[in-house]
Symmetry: C2
Subunit: 209 residues, 2 copies
């Protein structure tokens, strides 16, 4: 899979082509309207190529959830700075969908919307639930590492890095849920409150964010 053209540009291989077609089809039709035919329609591949690679619609969508997770991790790697304060900022920026992709990349709202629409399938569908449990654990582990590094360096004052990471991830996903399900776009206001929380509850006293 290419490291350079996630969700846009020329697909590096058939798997990436299928993932990009899945994203386009989800944007056009939403989860309730998705079908293998409609995913195939967004690509230059035939329907039988899809059946050759996947067991069915949900199998493709579950693979797409893993693809989104890699996409997030790639965005985070590009934005991260190596110091824990910068890495925390990068984590927040990328989690709020604000990672600026190259021209032609889906906008942040499109990425977050698709992510949350699939996440909502986890409410009823055990396979999605299992996939999002793993995805959440990976995000929390990633953020816990950043916080532990910062505590070790004395730039963060946090008693329980794992609990703080869980809470931050939940809050960020709550902000994204508000942003993608309301017409009044509350993200800027919510992001300011989140940053205030980070300054008062995470950072050591003389550290700026």
């Amino acid at each position: 899979m290419s490291d350079e053209v996630p969700l846009d540009g020329e697909p590096a291989d058939t798997h990436e082509a299928i993932m990009m077609a899945t994203f386009s089809a989800l944007r056009k039709h939403g989860y309730p309207g998705i079908s293998i035919q409609r995913i195939a329609d967004e690509s230059e591949l035939t329907k039988s190529t899809f059946y050759h690679h996947f067991d069915g619609k949900d199998d493709i969508l579950l693979s797409f959830v893993r693809y989104m997770r890699e996409y997030f991790e790639r965005g985070y790697r590009i934005e991260s700075t190596g110091d824990p304060v910068g890495d925390l900022r990068a984590f927040v920026t990328v989690s709020l969908g604000e990672y600026p992709g190259p021209d032609g990349t889906p906008n942040p709202e499109a990425r977050l919307s698709t992510y949350l629409e699939l996440r909502a399938q986890a409410i009823q569908n055990p396979a999605f639930r299992s996939e999002f449990t793993e995805l959440s654990a990976a995000l929390v582990r990633n953020l816990t590492d950043i916080i532990e590094t910062g505590v070790g360096q004395g730039v963060f004052t946090v008693n329980d890095p794992a609990a703080t990471a869980e809470y931050l991830v939940a809050t960020i996903e709550g902000i994204n849920l508000q942003q993608t399900t309301r017409t009044d776009g509350p993200r800027t206001m919510l992001q300011e409150s989140l940053e205030r929380y980070i300054r008062t509850e995470v950072l050591a006293e003389d550290v700026s964010f």
Copy 2:
């Protein structure tokens, strides 16, 4: 509409019967599998009664979103104490779905799951988005009132009650999203972090929660 038997017991009228059938059908089939026939199957009403009251499936579901909002407000009224600290606790308890209903009432997880599954429709469907924008505004207004009362009485120290209310609502919905889309049930841990936030960022120094 009865004030006593929300989402369970004997429906007070046809509208309530339709709402209760909608809830059952959503629990059984999820949004993608919902149809008027399947809603009718959960009631003693005929399909034509549904068409007499509603324009179609989405019209019933939008009405159900308003019903859930009334259900929340009823739960909050029952739990609220009249003092701002108790009211804040009641708001958090009810928002996390922990309002204990009478026997036969759907469990908290079932209520939250249905709420979030419908909320996810707002990502793609403008009518749902408009409905959830109003619902969110009502929740935030309600919580802002509680915080302003607490600030007035000197039990809360908050500079911007509306921003704090927005942030708390987003965080609570993020906690509910984690709880309903993961298998590892992180609510207890997240709720403790939320209560710590309220103690350090909302309550005046000598006030307990």
